[in-house]
């Protein structure tokens, strides 16, 4: 014991050092470079003249960025509750511990592990107006008369992506909620049953309140993911029609890697980082509290 402790002061650091060095070189230093770059007019061709906060002032007047940010916020606000509610409903789906229940859970979770690019191309195909089977199904079921051209309208494209992402990640919330429910003291639920609380009352008055920390955590993780959305929009809408479905990350990508306005893209990245920081600080706080208990 004493030996472990006395040698610990520097030895502990020795073991942590490689990881610290890695993070310093590949995250902390690049972030420093990003801050510097955000105050220059650097482009791919060079430049790099110091222009102070000009880029940030430009952001203020960049309607394209605000539209993209607003669109991303809308996407997050619409998608997150859908994911949480459906995930919770699937976690509550009551059945005895049968093969059917296990199969349901495995199948619901499968899309979580496949790539976002794969699932986006899969749904791009399903939604297609000519060869898409979703359109065919809806026509065959007489839900619609004509195939819908989903990606020609910003609204329909938005919902097409919400549907595809719900399919893709609903299993994530479900798994967290199953664990939350399992961790609830059975005696509390048994007492509630004896007191005459029905299934839905137990679900809403006991399970939901007792799982609120995990619900909050899952909500945050989902919201951060949505705020950083890129792949599904790049693949399914390319930001269109008429640039109406650019997300914040996509707008940064366009500026930095398509128009090569590196300085400006850096300033946009800083703004996005600050927004995400608010979410992730809360997330780390919640996780740390989890560890303490």
């Amino acid at each position: 014991m004493s030996k472990t402790r006395s040698s610990g002061q520097w030895r502990g650091w020795l073991y942590v050092a490689p990881a610290l060095l890695f993070v310093a070189v590949f995250v902390v230093i690049p972030f420093g470079q990003l801050i510097v770059m955000s105050m220059t007019d650097r482009s791919l061709l060079g430049g790099g003249k110091f222009i102070g906060l000009m880029n940030y002032i430009r952001i203020w007047n960049d309607s394209g960025f605000w539209r993209a940010l607003l669109f991303t916020v809308k996407y997050t606000i619409v998608l997150t509750p859908i994911l949480m509610i459906l995930g919770f409903a699937l976690a509550l789906l009551p059945a005895d511990n049968t093969p059917l229940k296990r199969l349901t859970r495995t199948v619901v979770f499968l899309p979580v592990v496949i790539g976002l690019s794969s699932s986006s191309l899969l749904w791009f195909w399903l939604f297609d107006e000519q060869v898409g089977l979703l359109n065919k199904l809806l026509v065959d079921l007489r839900v619609i008369a004509q195939p819908i051209v989903w990606f020609a309208s910003a609204d329909l494209a938005f919902w097409a992506i919400v549907i595809s992402i719900t399919w893709k990640v609903v299993g994530f919330g479900m798994v967290l909620f199953i664990a939350a429910i399992q961790s609830i003291d059975r005696e509390i639920l048994e007492a509630a049953v004896i007191d005459g609380a029905g299934y839905w009352r137990r679900a809403f008055l006991i399970v939901v309140p007792l799982s609120r920390r995990i619900i909050l955590l899952a909500t945050l993780v989902s919201a951060i993911g949505s705020m950083l959305a890129f792949d599904q929009f790049y693949i399914m809408t390319s930001g269109g029609p008429r640039g109406q479905t650019f997300t914040a990350v996509y707008w940064i990508y366009q500026n930095s890697f398509v128009s090569f306005r590196l300085g400006y893209g850096a300033a946009l990245s800083i703004v996005l980082t600050l927004i995400i920081l608010a979410f992730s600080t809360l997330q780390i706080g919640l996780t740390a509290r989890n560890e303490a208990t």
Binding site: R11, P18, P111, L116, V131, R186, V193, L217
Partner: protein, 294 residues
Amino acid sequence: MTTAALAPEAAAVAARRRAMAPGTYGIVAISIAVIAIMAAPIVLSALASIKTAADASAIPPHYLPRTLSLENYAKVVGFQAGLATYVGNSALVAAMTIAACLALAAPAGYGLARFAMRGKEIAFLILLAPIMIPYQAILTPLYLDFARVGLVNTHIGLAIVHTLLQLPFSIFLMRASFETIPREIEEAAVIDGCSTWQRLTRVFLPLAVPGLVTVALFAFINSWNEFLAALIFMNRNTSFTVPILLVSVRAGKFGAVDWGALQASVIISIIPSLAVYLALQRYYISGLLSGAVK
């Protein structure tokens, strides 16, 4: 188990439970509907991938293949630099990511879990930097740095980005695994005269195999699937990874989408992650739960 918790088996309450809970037949029907909805996209894509190329692009489409054909797969195998190149790129990047995550996270987790360090909280905070600073934000400076030292379009360059994505989760998980190992086992090793390094390699690592497997599993799946960094850093058509291959298959040669080849490449891209997940399901779920930090 959820049900067990929600609806205790006690005989006295069985009748009431039946009255209160939605009917069993309803549950079975809902479950089957859920399975059908969730499985349909993958099943339909798999079926489309084995249609003939003409059938796969038929307008209007058919749900089922008319004749079975491996034509689409043959096309993907021969696409541009060849499927083997792209799968090889992805596999190599994933392997490097796994190796780097294990090599960095296991010692770091050991240091954080088993040593009294002054300023440990600061170290932990720095290690969490990749969560606080989204990698999407630092891709430009990373790209310029990598271009300067020749790491663009290299496996190692992309593996570095994938490692920094996975590192906080990996360290968190390794620290948690090492913390659960009882003091007595470590003390026995100390008495036997083991150095701290020997304690790590001979005592801690063998006992933390589930944690190591989980770290490797997440590193593999997330590296295999990662899109944005691969799109930016692997921009030569011999260095594409599988997700980038998918996008270029769709772009095709002359603008018209080759739907059959696209579905074949989608299926090829999802098989490795599905197979690894199904084989190691328990590790994946436990990792997800213990590390919802990600």
